[in-house]
């Protein structure tokens, strides 16, 4: 029996919704299921905003959450009622079953449950009060209830609980009692045949599977690639990258500094890159805007640096705790002058790990800033990732010049070569002295604004990047689904690729010939691959989370073919159902045909 179960917990800030979701996903990962999980919470630290914890546990790593959940838990009916539809037919809705005082009509969740949904109403408050003396452990009671109801072993839940509250022994003890009380109650009830956990998948040999967030995966990639220095300034949703590195890097004897602003962060990153160090910063859209000028210096002075960018919503301060993919244009084009750079966008948490490390290789190999573009949805979501036994990253991809016996000031740091990449030297290397300058320069790095020189240097800076599309052991793009001609081809990037792939799989199950192209490297753009993919497709769909269709715009600047833009700015991940509907429309399936 295969497992594919999605559980959503909806509550108000203060109900412990997110904490319960965290314990649940840790337990699921410990069972050995593949997990993908993403929480939604309000921007305020305190308050009564809506919190949702969602997770999907499967045998094979899923690409996205499902359009509908198998189990919906309400810790707060006023917030959960609008989400009742999220539970599928024959799915479970679990809510407070204890007696409540007089309520206005329609404010109790039981009035909204569909006849096809299975209601469970354990007395959560009462069980919490009995087992711990307070109603605050309702969130833990309900976890125990879920474990009991689905006949799951309770130990992984207990271990997850104890590790979460390891610094507060008394809290852990009370919560253990709450968990057991919930478990006993759940085990008393009939088990849902329609929502059942199968045995977890067998373990892979060699790789260790861990459940981590996108930001944590970036950090792990950076550490595995041997990051030497990090300079950053806090900003949501990138801050946890810096926070994790701040605790990890000193253990490796490496250095992190919180700078006075994002301009200093990228400036110091480039300063460190000049010395040959593997160095990075992390920010979000507002910080990337401040870094634009300095990135141009990195481009013209050909200094390696890595910038991790986690996008959030809107211009200016916008929506700091909502997800969006609207900084793509800035990442690719931001800044003055012709300033080409490498932009890679991972599509899942495993990709965050690989891009997090590969970015350092690329920065060195092509002597340029590399932007790794995430978004809040990818930064904050959890997935189970198989980590290889040996980090898949090269320790040093610099091309150093042999400067022994070099004449003073005679080193051609910017030598024009056939492959457009010049061997470099770093401070401390005798005979390699040169000036890295933001002025246009000649091969020696001396200021030079002659027409021929500017043309030659501009060509060098652009052409050298093309090799990055074939960077060793890196997936710059990949095709999924049907081979050969298809009715609908989906080209997607970043976090939205997961939903696109899920929709493509569902469309193929409906008999639509369909393929999806994942584009990880957006600058330089894989023009030939995308053009060939589109030539195969009757229609091309580009789903993304921004208003303009920024990726579609970049695509069409390279491939002159029509595309259908599915551009959404809801602040939430794209809905699989919406992409699927668009695929059906493009494939010529009307809703009536669909029903038939």
């Amino acid at each position: 029996m295969s497992t594919d179960i999605q559980i959503a917990i909806v509550g108000s800030a203060g109900d412990g919704t997110i904490a319960a979701g965290d314990i649940l996903r840790r337990a699921m990962a410990e069972f050995g299921y593949r997990v993908i999980s993403f929480d939604v919470y309000p921007p305020e630290i305190r308050g009564f905003g809506k919190c949702i914890a969602r997770l999907r546990a499967t045998d094979e790593q899923a690409y996205s959450l499902k359009p509908q959940s198998d189990v919906l838990v309400s810790l707060d009916d006023s917030h959960a009622i609008p989400h009742v539809n999220e539970a599928r037919e024959w799915g479970a809705v679990i809510y407070e079953g204890g007696s409540v005082g007089p309520l206005a009509e329609g404010t109790h969740i039981s009035a909204h449950i569909d006849p096809g949904q299975i209601p469970y109403n354990p007395p959560l408050r009462e069980l919490s009060e009995k087992s711990t003396g307070s109603a605050r452990s309702r969130n833990i009671v309900v976890l125990g209830y879920i474990a009991g109801l689905f006949r799951l072993p309770v130990e992984p839940f207990l271990r997850a609980l104890n590790s979460k509250f390891k610094s507060k022994a008394d809290v852990a003890k009370k919560n253990e009692a709450a968990l057991r009380a919930g478990y006993e109650e759940g085990a008393r009830w009939f088990r849902l045949d329609d929502v059942a956990f199968g045995p977890p998948p067998a373990k892979d040999g060699g790789a260790t599977v861990e459940m981590i967030s996108g930001n944590a995966a970036v950090v792990r990639g950076a550490l595995d690639a041997g990051i030497d220095n990090f300079f950053g300034y806090p900003i949501t949703p990138a801050t946890s990258i810096m926070e994790r590195l701040a605790s990890e890097m000193p253990k490796h004897g490496t250095r992190l500094l919180q700078t006075e602003d994002e301009i200093s962060a990228i400036a110091a990153t480039i300063g460190a890159g000049f010395t040959g160090a593997r160095t990075a910063t992390a920010t979000s859209g507002p910080g990337l805007a401040l870094m634009a000028e300095m990135l141009g210096l990195g481009v013209i002075a050909e200094v390696p640096s890595v910038v991790f960018v986690s996008q959030r919503g809107g211009p200016s301060t916008g929506m700091p705790t909502k997800t969006e993919q609207s900084d793509l244009n800035m990442a690719v084009y931001g800044g003055h002058g012709d300033a080409p750079r490498i932009v890679i966008a991972p599509t899942n948490v495993e990709g965050c790990y690989r891009c997090g490390g590969k970015a350092f290789e690329m920065a060195e190999a092509y002597q340029t800033p590399v932007i790794v573009l995430l978004d809040l949805y990818l930064s904050n979501r959890y997935e189970t990732v198989p980590f290889p036994a040996q980090p898949p990253f090269e320790a040093d991809m610099n091309r150093y010049a042999d400067t022994r016996g070099g004449k003073a000031a005679g080193f051609k740091r910017y030598a024009l070569t056939d492959e457009h990449i010049s061997p470099r030297s770093i401070p401390g290397q005798a005979g390699g002295m040169h000036i890295a300058t933001g002025l246009e320069h000649n091969e020696l790095g001396r200021p030079n604004d002659q027409s021929a020189m500017h043309t030659a240097m501009s060509r060098k800076r652009h052409e050298k990047l093309k090799a990055a599309l074939k960077h060793p052991d890196f997936t710059a793009y990949k095709r999924f689904g049907d081979a050969g001609p298809v009715d609908v081809g989906i080209v997607a990037w970043g976090s939205t690729f997961g939903e696109a792939l899920e929709a493509m799989i569902l469309a193929r199950e409906e008999g639509i010939r369909c393929a999806a192209l994942k584009v990880v490297m957006i600058s330089p753009f894989p023009t030939e691959v995308v053009a060939a993919f589109m030539a195969d497709a009757g229609a091309t769909l580009v789903p993304e989370l921004n208003y303009q269709g920024q990726f579609a715009g970049i695509l069409q600047a390279h491939v002159a073919r029509p595309v259908t833009r599915l551009a959404r700015v809801t602040g939430e991940p794209m809905e699989v159902g919406e992409i699927l509907a668009e695929i059906r429309r493009l494939a010529g399936r009307t809703p009536a045909q669909q029903a038939a």
């Binding site: 004897g253 700078t259 990153t269 300063g271 010395t275 160095t279």
Partner: protein
């Protein structure tokens, strides 16, 4: 005026060649206007590096944008000629990544106190172990004469044709209060004093700030001329105690007759020390040793 004596070109050339400091000068000749005070600074820095036997390849000169920021091109060392106002954060990256390097940040009054003013407090409070040479000519020279944050009130420039109404800032007082651990002032018209001060600033372990007053011979014919500066500038009183911060602040307040010399110095752990302490607390291997070894490994071809 009693200390003025004739200097003969041949004698001077021989002295300079014998000193070895010409090795620290690049083949590129300075692009400054004839008579500019900055020529003296190039010579002073070359002499100071030479005096302290810093290998050419271990020195990194970092600058922003402006007349003064062309400086790295005139030195035989590694250099970064960066963005307007950003010399200090770039230098922070260089020094943090490789603490074995001798890092000198250079820049002008506009670079350091207008566009880059936000970085100075942080380099100072962290006690970043570099030397910051601030070339103050009270004007934006490279863009042909606009008002700067140290321009005198009433100064007429192309951007203040009816007089500059802003009052100039007092960089020395700022640096003293920011927590710089070495604060000094010199004058481009006194090359010997300048050379001694640059050498002392380089020798200091921690953030050393040397404010160098200079005329702009091209765009300022009224305020900072050699004649005006030469008559106004005084030496710090002989009994000034550089460990007395209040005394230093008192002297710095008197900016109508600026005093040259060492205002303040103290010993405090540097940013490198602090980062090493963090590594110790985390149980890691000594950062500095590790970083230096790694860098050494990377330059084996050199």
């Amino acid at each position: 005026m009693g200390d003025i004596r004739p200097v003969y070109l041949e004698e001077k050339l021989k002295e300079v060649e014998d000193s070895g400091r010409l090795g620290y000068r690049s083949k590129a000749l300075p692009t400054w206007c004839p008579g500019c005070g900055y020529f003296a600074i190039v010579d002073a820095v070359a002499a100071a590096l030479c005096e302290q036997c810093v290998p050419y390849e271990d020195a990194v000169i970092v600058s922003g944008i402006g007349c003064s920021s062309r400086f790295p091109f005139f030195m035989n060392a590694y250099g970064m000629h960066t963005l307007h106002g950003r010399a200090l954060p770039v230098a922070t990256g260089v020094k943090t990544a490789n603490p074995a390097l001798t890092v000198v940040a250079v820049g002008g009054d506009g670079d350091g106190f207008a566009i880059g003013g936000g970085h100075v407090p942080h380099a100072a409070r962290r006690n970043l172990n570099i030397t910051y040479l601030l070339f103050d000519n009270g004007i934006y020279g490279l863009t042909k004469g606009q008002t700067s944050p140290t321009s005198a009130t009433g100064f007429r420039t192309t951007t203040s044709p009816y007089d500059n109404t802003d009052r100039p800032i007092n960089p020395l007082m700022l640096l003293l209060s920011y927590g710089a651990t070495w604060v000094g002032q010199s004058y481009a018209g006194k090359p010997e004093h300048l050379r001694r001060m640059v050498a002392a600033a380089l020798a200091h372990r921690g953030f050393s700030y040397l404010h160098i007053i200079s005329p702009c011979v091209t765009f300022d014919k009224t305020h900072r001329t050699y004649v005006n500066l030469g008559t106004k500038i005084r030496e710090l009183p002989a009994d000034h105690d550089p460990s007395d911060k209040l005394g230093a602040l008192r002297e710095a307040m008197n900016d109508s007759t600026p005093a040259i010399g060492l205002y303040f110095r103290e010993d405090r752990p540097t940013l490198d020390d602090a980062l090493d302490t963090i590594v110790e607390k985390a149980g890691g291997t000594a950062a500095r040793e590790r970083v230096i070894q790694k860098q050494a490994g990377r330059k084996t071809r050199g």
